[in-house]
Symmetry: C2
Subunit: 340 residues, 2 copies
């Protein structure tokens, strides 16, 4: 079997390796497709070297078919088409005991803290599995994980039908947040700078603007009858986004911080006071978000497959990472791990 290893700053090695047999409570999966996440690019850039023990197989947005199950695994069998929720909580910390295992204080993220999916055969705990319906292709199912991120964000943002939502940042996650919010019945406005992504977001049936060309505060104020947005999703991770996110919500409106801010940002706390705004951070997902993502994807409620702008072989992983690094005409890149 083959695997793609991150081997230290900006180095990917693809080569032969031995499969890991499933122990008790584990399953071995033949990986079909694996999406490249922004986090994988961070790992590639060496920004997560404090967490990643090299050489490490990365990747976590995947689909595949169970090859064999370890002892004590119930409800899953060889041949099942599955995707993986790549979280391995400790079970004992205060967050786990309070029922928030997805943000466990000692969370192991599979594909960062332990081996990931960019390999032929992947062995994971059975508690991570979600079965895929036959109506969903394995290629498309590699997007279930990022769709689950969006479902989690929209759920924590308490988006309701008829609400006016702004999404700051129209990359893969921002666009999926916008699509999931729209599926919930909201009117959604996306703010994005990249012309390719702006065009793609519009082709998906969403409203979108370039904030350098359109005064977003004025637009939202007008379109909401002087009220402001019901909720704003900050998915850009930029200083401009941190500034804009407080200017858009209505009185008692909500802000969801989805993006990773590597350093503290200037935030207008007076605006929180003045309008009694609310903010919440949203990280990864819970099982119910995976279930919703699978349902939305298989019901064809979202044109999510349009986000796939390239499919590469395992040997071409670095080409995909470099394309993401360059930006431009790129949204979601998949890696075909099947060796077909």
């Amino acid at each position: 079997m083959r695997a793609a290893f991150y081997a230290g700053q900006k180095t990917i090695r693809v080569g032969e390796c031995a499969p890991v047999a499933p122990l008790s409570g584990q399953v071995q999966i033949r990986v079909s497709h694996c999406g490249i996440c922004g986090t994988d690019l961070h790992v590639y850039h060496g920004h997560m070297d404090h967490r990643v023990r090299v050489p490490q197989v990365i990747g976590h947005e995947m689909s595949g078919t169970i090859v064999q199950t370890g002892g004590g695994v119930q409800g899953f069998a060889a041949g099942d088409r599955v995707t993986v929720m790549p979280l391995d909580p400790c079970g004992g910390c205060p967050a786990c005991r309070a029922g928030h295992g997805h943000v466990c204080q000692r969370l192991k993220f599979i594909g960062i803290d332990s081996p990931g999916a960019l390999q032929t055969l992947w062995t994971v705990p059975a508690h991570t599995l979600h079965v895929l319906p036959v109506s969903l292709s394995l290629e498309h199912a590699a997007l279930i994980e990022p769709i689950a991120v969006a479902c989690h964000d929209v759920r924590l943002g308490e988006v309701k039908a008829g609400e006016y939502i702004v999404v700051l940042g129209g990359g893969p996650i921002g666009t999926l947040v916008a699509l999931v919010a729209k599926a919930a019945g909201a009117r959604v406005m996306v703010s994005e700078l990249n012309p390719f992504r702006l065009r793609l977001v519009r082709e998906l049936g969403l409203e979108a603007i370039d904030p350098r060309e359109t005064d977003l505060v004025k637009l939202v104020t007008e379109q909401t009858g002087d009220a402001g947005a019901d909720a704003v999703f900050e998915v850009s991770g930029s200083a401009a986004g941190a500034e804009m996110m407080t200017r858009l919500p209505r009185v008692r409106g909500r802000i969801v911080v989805v993006a990773v801010f590597p350093t503290p940002a200037q935030v207008d706390l007076h605006r929180f006071f003045w309008r009694e705004l609310r903010l919440c951070g949203a990280r990864v997902y819970q099982h119910q978000d995976f279930e919703q993502a699978i349902e939305l994807a298989s019901s064809r409620a979202l044109p999510f497959e349009r986000l796939i702008t390239g499919v590469y072989s395992l040997d071409q992983l670095e080409t995909g990472l470099l394309q993401m690094e360059k930006g431009g005409e790129v949204m979601k890149i998949l890696v075909d791990c099947s060796g077909r």
Copy 2:
């Protein structure tokens, strides 16, 4: 009758003036006591000159007795002992229409945007009134307004019995927030720099530390079994408070921004993401908060009267303002407007 006017930057004039007869829907109150709020000090310093039309009677933390009622006023009569919720919402903006009149988009705050309580006779809309129980002295009742602020903050912070709460800043509002949270059954830790206030807060039965002497993050982590605080109230308005507020909460913990931050602050948005923290701004109060404040004060559940560190006559208002400006051994200063 006499009134105290703010007459431009750092100038108070106290003199004779004519009473304002109550129009339809209004009542005229003989003012007993009026507390000096941090906002009054801001006005005195000229920081709110963009809002205050001079000369203006200021003051809004008051108690008094109704002298006469205008036409159409029902449920109130001369002789009623009352306090005033000093908010005058427009009734027509999106926030008012959504039921959030207390943070109306065109809110007039009585005592800033229209004449305040630091005068012998004060005429206000009847919808602002709350009747005081006989068990509550008029001197003590001047603290109902700041207690209502604390009730609002604790309500929005969703404080529950048994929770661990941190209050950053032990001035009058921070101390009242701590007392109201304790009355709700929470364990409360106050962080304060001023030694006089620290001592007073401890005498009120609250736990309190000086963060220059005690490592607050370490203390909270230890006292919560490595979980973190359930909720943190930021009442300091300082850069240090904005930094500390994200370091203390547990996974899914809450932050309530009570303080006024005049400029944007550095905020660790990554911490919101990582622990799925929630933040809300809390401003002024709603009628239910006044009702709760009156109930708490009259039931003697809170030793709130201990916060009164001085009572001055109307002619001595500027002395009180200067004492607050100087800081040190001062908490809440009242002005006796009765001319006794």
